[in-house]
């Protein structure tokens, strides 16, 4: 039978310090950039107008820009979209948004009037238009933040009930890390944060928790077997045992996302990017964020029945890193020559 990563005995968790450095190096520039220039919010959140136009002839972007400036929208963003005949106009500056307070459609009407004057009424068609007043946007961002917090709260309670609070807390903290990392990724790519992309981030949360639950489920099972193995080794063993599943699920989901990236079109593509990154980071953080956090919590608040000495001993070993060869971390129940 075809098997990948079968019976591995990789000491994943030993590398957690290196992993932490990678994470910090990845996050810091993004945090600085976000602090300086904020996110690229879509008009759904800030209020504003977006119009997609199709011209009969390749569109003259500079002429459109000049005409919109005289019409009172000097800050309009204009870009071709797909073919040279299609234009995307985005008006998002505060003065224009303020105009939309009375009726969201006014900017659309004004832009169309300006373009009619310059190019003639029949020379283009409005393929799609979207206009949002500022108040709607404010409510939306509030709702999204609230949704994430409530999702965390409920998942924390569920996992605390199904596992125990240490696992739940490690899962939530690692998932928070995933959100921050995904936001950093979006900042690097300058992806627009639309409502749809927020849905993508929330899906990443679901997927990431999914992955941590699978690993912790194995830890829970191995704990029940009652062998006096240090938690450090137990975590490594569980990660290794679930590794084939982790890789298979990850690659299959990524394959589905690849399909969305290729065929999804411009609406779905940012969403697919967010999920692609989120699924990679979610799998990574199960091993390198959730597990070290669990070890750390366990050291601070040891559970009854687990030998504290074992944990500190294994930590000491991990930090000294004197053993080049991987230690046997698998139970001896399975025959060493289990391959067939």
């Amino acid at each position: 039978m075809l098997r990948i990563l079968h019976n591995t005995k990789i000491d994943f968790i030993r590398l957690w310090k290196q992993a932490a450095i990678v994470i910090v190096v990845f996050l810091i520039p993004a945090v600085v950039m976000i602090a300086m220039s904020g996110f690229n919010w879509s008009i759904e959140f800030t209020g504003g107008t977006r119009i997609q136009l199709q011209f009969q002839n390749p569109a003259d972007v500079s002429a459109v820009r000049a005409e919109l400036a005289t019409a009172g929208f000097p800050n309009a963003e204009i870009a071709t979209f797909g073919s040279p005949n299609e234009l995307m106009i985005r008006v998002q500056d505060p003065t224009a948004v303020a105009q939309q307070d009375r009726a969201a459609g006014v900017v659309v009407t004004a832009i169309r009037a300006a373009l009619d004057r310059r190019f003639g009424a029949g020379s283009y068609t409005v393929v799609g238009a979207e206009a949002v007043s500022a108040k709607v946007g404010d409510e939306l961002s509030g709702q999204a933040a609230l949704a994430v917090l409530i999702a965390f709260g409920i998942t924390l309670i569920y996992l605390a009930w199904r596992f125990e609070w240490r696992f739940a807390l490690a899962t939530i903290l690692a998932t928070m890390h995933d959100i921050v990392a995904t936001l950093a990724f979006m900042k690097y790519l300058n992806l627009e944060i639309s409502l749809f992309v927020v849905g993508g981030i929330l899906t990443v949360i679901g997927y990431s928790m999914n992955d941590k639950v699978v690993v912790f489920d194995r830890v829970r099972e191995n704990l029940k077997k009652g062998r006096k193995l240090p938690l450090y080794d137990l975590l490594n063993q569980s990660v290794n045992e679930t590794l084939p599943r982790t890789v298979m699920t990850g690659s299959t989901t990524l394959a589905c996302l690849l399909a969305l990236l290729i065929f999804g079109g411009d609406v779905i593509r940012p969403f697919a990017w967010v999920l692609t990154f989120g699924i990679i980071i979610g799998t990574f953080s199960s091993i390198y964020v959730a597990s070290p956090i669990l070890l750390w919590i366990e050291r601070k608040y040891p559970r009854l029945g687990v030998d504290k000495a074992h944990i500190s001993a294994s930590q000491a070993r991990a930090e000294s890193q004197v053993e080049p060869a991987p230690r046997p971390i698998r139970g001896s129940k399975a025959p060493a020559t289990g391959r067939r």
């Binding site: 459609g105 949002v132 007043s133 108040k135 709702q143 749809f196 929330l202 999914n210 065929f263």
Partner: protein
Amino acid sequence: MTNLKYRVATIVALVLISIWALWPRTVIERVKRDGVFVYDTIQRVPLKRGLDLQGGMYLALELDESKGVVSDKEDAIQRAVKVVRNRIDEFGVAEPTVQTVGNNRIIVELPGIDDPERAEAVVQQAAHLQFMITDETNALERAMTRLDQIARDAGGPTSRGALGDTSKASQVTGLEKLFTQDSGAKGADTTKADSATSPIPPTGGPISSLLQRGEMPGEFYITQENVARAEYYFSLPQIQQAIPPGKAVKWGADTMSIGGQVYRTLYVVDSRPIITGESINDARPNTTPIDGTVVEFQLDNEGGRKFRNETRKHIQDYMAIVLDDRVMGRPPVIQGEIGVRGQITLGRRDMQQAQDLALVLRAGALPVPLKIADVRSIGASLGDDAIRQGLSAGALGIAIVILIMVVYYRFSGMLAVLGLVFYSLTTLAMLAGFGAVLTLPGIAGFVLSIGMAVDANFLIFERIREEVDRGKTIRTSIDEGFSHAWSAIVDTHVTTALTAAILYQFGTGPVRGFAVALLAGLAASMVSAIFVVRTLFLLWLNRTRGTAPLSI
């Protein structure tokens, strides 16, 4: 063994139900033909497409408080919804939706609309309420010969192709036959509504054959199938000119059902209203011991004086309550002189109707200032693109998943693929069953949850491999594989479902569509992995009697 039979029977039943839920069925829908809206029966798969897939317009309306604070926001929004719903036909779209979100916003979705500015105007217009006396003089009957003649000259919508192509023409005659049979059968019906059922004197004309005399003077019934033709005739300018002076034709807002047949009402009324909505100060539903459910309304002093004069002249006449050109409910009879305070007695009818009627009166009395907070229009071409993209992505995604499963797990992988077929079928059936609207984010959610659905299979299969490694028999390995993977599958599905449920609760529009698809997918995925794939394994074990090696 019996256990296995029940399992197979359950799966077969679920598959059959799903296929039935997705089977194309005949629905009556308003469709646009040659610029005229007609009700037509069409065959389609019962999965509705969202605005982003078929093109259309989305409007979010809010109370405009810039010119003064609205005291009772909830009532104002309810009145506005009533008014906007009542105008649905003016939008000229097939299936508009009007709904409230929270307590200060109305969402209007107009699929397939191509004139955003007109739609905005229609939505923002103030409501217009009139009380009009129904015609007592048989005005329409007397003019009918002429009307029929004009209609004959103008030609019916059928001859112009407005009711569809020639293949549809036979369908129309079929419906007419049905109509005549029904009116015959209705003579036996106990409803006094049409005991006469005497077709109007000049029968057989294009218009007169559509109308049946109603219960009260000036009232006519038209079967639902014939409404489109009647609307067409009465919208012709020649016909409108030929309607006797001082009279007007107004459609009833609701449909009514008599003896299983659905009718719309048409009223001939005096074109001069006795009072209009501006004279109404308030209207409230109430229950009284003597009259049962009533709507009490109050007029201002001038309106009261006018109303007293008019009602004195029209005792025992019927008064139609007309909101934006549509007659709301059945016209009540005027029983005596009414001044500033009046009461419409609904008798034993339920409170809901009284509330509704009071809302109509208040809507006409107190215009609701609305502003457009959010407007979105999506061209039909964008929708076509989106569908093509969604289908391609879905096809490629499924192909990749099948390839991975079969290459990696061989025979067991094929069982998993069968499970996936079951998964896809039931997910789509659930979406159709809940009346969920298929949107682009919904398709994305579906494609993504295929990836997550196979996760459960990976968990199980890897577990079975481990058990086989430990030297257990095939049958035990399969049993243990499923029972050990169970807890992980349940926990992962529940955590994801919790997130999806919260998305649904707090999200709007695209996020909601995504959450619904994900939730349906998760439910189907659980059943598929834990039940269907396991049953397939059991069937295989039963065939081979546990002797063959397992290809996994």
